[in-house]
Symmetry: C4
Subunit: 300 residues, 4 copies
């Protein structure tokens, strides 16, 4: 999570840094868009929109106040579209280089299409704009997205297991149990259910009426799928532990390098000392032998 | 957990520390309230009250001995009220600054209201007083409460996902399946069930009778919700691992700072040595050259 | 796990150490009991007994071969009893100080009672003798048992939650749903089911027919219970991580203490050097001043 | 996982190293088999085969295009057989010393038998060849396999628990509930279901109709099995954490050994300094006393 937070801050810094050489009214607009007051106003509008979309679903109120609710929804959508337009104008090219901006663009675009088509339900995706506005949720969602590559490869193995068992299931039980194993798609859906462990004994017992040894298939699938999913969980935990461990090892190496530098300095000074003493000894020997010569001369 | 334990001890210390400048009979009362014997008596009364509330629910015994059980319950409640009053008298302002005291105040207050209203069931909350009396349970409950902020933000994301899917579900399946997706509330309840994976294939197959592609909705929700919940678990584990790792890094830095101090001392002494030797060399040179002069003079 | 293994080895060492001052035939017997061949024979007999107990349950074979199977079972029991008697004779007092020995004593005693009573099913506990014979399983079971105290306190909180909700449930739904919440015991069993998330929507929807707001009760219980259980899991992981972290910190302190000792030695030698040089300087000064005096005298 | 990756690279290195003293056309063949282009072609063929096996299961298309699909399947199988033959020819003895090669050999052999028998479903195992071709999946599957020994011993304990409970269940409920506890095998299957927590209240309530206290059996089994499985998960996480911790301790010891060497060098030089100074002092004393003698002689 720490990493995502940092990446987030970095992005914010970049936006400021790239603000040089930009006309002053655009800079002013950017400041306005990033101001707390504006962000909080958008936040309140999103929450109100979420509530209005919820109220719409209520049979009584939803039909009675259908017109005002529709007007309200159009208002919210207009505001979000204006905000999006302002942000695109203010940031231009940069806008489409920021992941969160693209996210906003996509959900609001879908929302507009939702408003003018049969897929009215998709208007609610607009509520996800909340994630972009609230920094803490941005961190959490970043962390969620960051953890995907780590489990991707285990996920692919899981899909492979699902596919192989689905083909076997379709071949073996497909003719007798069309509703469960009729074709590769129904088989995969059935096995997805079994994978969540939900109602698997019912599926197994239905199939067991025609295939006596089908329990081997189900027990094997439950065990293999559960074990693989367990490793998926472990993979996430382990990634974090290893990151932490590497940080620690880095700190250890860094700290000890400092110590080594100190010791090097001491060593260098000790060696210098040795040289000083050698020099002094040499000097002393010369001086004393000179003196002895002088004294001898004096004696003579 | 370690942190909670410490916080607990700190609180206890504060209570003692703030005991200065308090009339002696109040100090005596505090000592009495904190005495082992008193605490254990309260503990036994709580357990007995818990048992009596349990016995009340038994159809046979509960109705036959209704009157004595009611009297017993009134007795227990009175004792807990007196204990609470004594604690408020003994600690005054401090009482309401201690989280556990407030907790006791709230559950016993609810319990009193429970005894005089239709919500008789809430009298049992009194049993939670056990947590305050047993130090080990206080630690566990503190740890549970401490782990909430760490998962709060993931929890908010989970609620957002639930809400968005609930609105979509209400819009798409609401007309045909009023019992499951009739309005935003029933939709959220249905999706909460699906989130626990309990009976989700039944819900999905019921909806599939009218919407052929509804399986996409359910499979997507099951996968997104499960993945997010998994991250919730990971978030808790990671928080602990990171705390531990930081402790270790702190220990490393502290230990190495000690070593560095030692090496510094050695270095300082070596430098001093160099100065001593330089001084000595200078002195020796002066003395020897003086001597040479003298000797020369002597020779002449 | 590492700890359990160590404890195990320690125990083994103790047994050997205490073998002094014991008559030679008893020592010989101990050696025989600990010999690989004997242990493996017992191991094979346990597995055979497990199989015979399994065969007994098969309706066809079990009734047809009832007499030989009974004889076989008596034979196995006799062998295990003799083994137990020999071990008690060989180790006497020590026998009952070893946890595993007591474990064997208990399961074989239950097994004997099982053989002569209606609780014939309990004869199978004898198979658990396997754990004592196989060192690796001893380690695993030790680890399982070792992890209990760590989760005990969370477990107590869980039971408290269960009890409080059970009393509330009995009071609120007891009259209308006797089968689910009739008294405190049925309520606790129902809530235990809900806690495993198994079929909780069915329970909730049955209660919802009479109590409209009962969903609050169930959703609250599911969330609180799941969250607490999650912390139970975290508690185990954390305990291991912390143990590991403490080991590491210990290693760090130990290693750095070694380094400090080395640096101390260097420091001591440097200080000694300073003294040597001071001494030498003093000597030199004396010698040179003496010499100067002599030279002056010589000159005069 | 890191370990598996290393082992994998090591294996690859070995294959190259053993390539010495091999006829040039075989070396060329090996190079061809390991070439990116060849590997990718095989990869595409496996995916196409997977799709064709999926299409076969579709009732409409599968029966209409049965003949072309069969031809296609024969083509794919032939290609995989030729690839296998080439690899055996190119690597000979080495082929059967590589785990992944044996894996390919087994799944393709099963696939051939599948094509000519009633077990047509097993032809799909061929798709698992994907794991060998994609290095990242090889790493994941290696990690999965590597984690098995770590949980093996806990698994054996779990099987033992299952067996003991199955025998008890067969003895106690076998006569009244033949479908659930008829013999040791049905009992084990029933308890495996209970272990996944799926529908256990239904099983328990069915048995409860004849045995009033059977809930003790089920609650005990659910708690013991869940607790043991939880430890299985913990065992995996702990293994990784401990490995990491050992790595860190190794780094610490290594780093500190370096520091100790440095300090040793300093120490050695300081001791040398002491000797130098002692020598110098001795020399000086001799020279000065000689000089004094000379001076005295000169004076006289």
């Amino acid at each position: 999570m720490a990493r995502s937070k940092k990446a987030d801050e970095k992005q914010a810094t970049l936006q400021l840094a790239e603000g040089q050489g930009v006309p002053p009214h655009v800079l002013k607009l950017r400041k306005f868009l990033q101001a707390r007051l504006f962000q909080n106003s958008i936040l309140i509008l999103i929450v109100m929109n979420a509530v209005s979309l919820g109220v719409e679903t209520m049979p009584g109120i939803g039909t009675e106040y259908a017109i005002p609710l529709l007007r309200l929804d159009t208002f919210f959508l207009t505001v979000f579209l204006i905000e999006l337009a302002l942000r695109i104008y203010a940031y231009r090219g940069q806008f489409f280089r920021n992941g969160w901006s693209i996210f906003d663009f996509v959900i609001i675009t879908i929302s507009v299409f939702g408003a003018f088509s049969v897929f009215r339900a998709f208007r609610v995706l607009r509520v996800l704009h909340l994630v972009t506005v609230l920094p803490r949720m941005r961190v959490v969602v970043s962390a969620l997205i960051d953890s995907i590559p780590g489990i991707m490869s285990v996920g692919v193995v899981l899909v492979l297991i699902l596919y192989v068992f689905a083909v076997i299931g379709s071949n073996m039980f497909g003719d007798d149990h069309t509703d469960l194993f009729g074709n590769i798609f129904t088989s995969m859906y059935t096995l997805f259910q079994v994978m969540t462990l939900e109602g698997w004994p019912d599926v197994a017992s239905q199939v067991a009426t025609t295939d006596r040894y089908s329990w081997i298939y189900f027990v094997a699938f439950v065990m293999i799928a559960t074990f693989t999913m367990l490793n998926l969980l472990v993979a996430i935990v382990v990634r974090v532990v290893e990151e932490d461990s590497n940080d620690l090892e880095g700190a250890l190496v860094r700290e000890n390098a400092d110590l080594r530098d100190e010791i090097h300095d001491v060593h260098r000074d000790v060696v210098q000392l040795q040289e000083m003493i050698s020099g002094m000894q040499r000097e002393m020997n010369t001086a004393l032998s000179d003196l002895t010569v002088e004294t001898r001369k004096a004696r003579d």
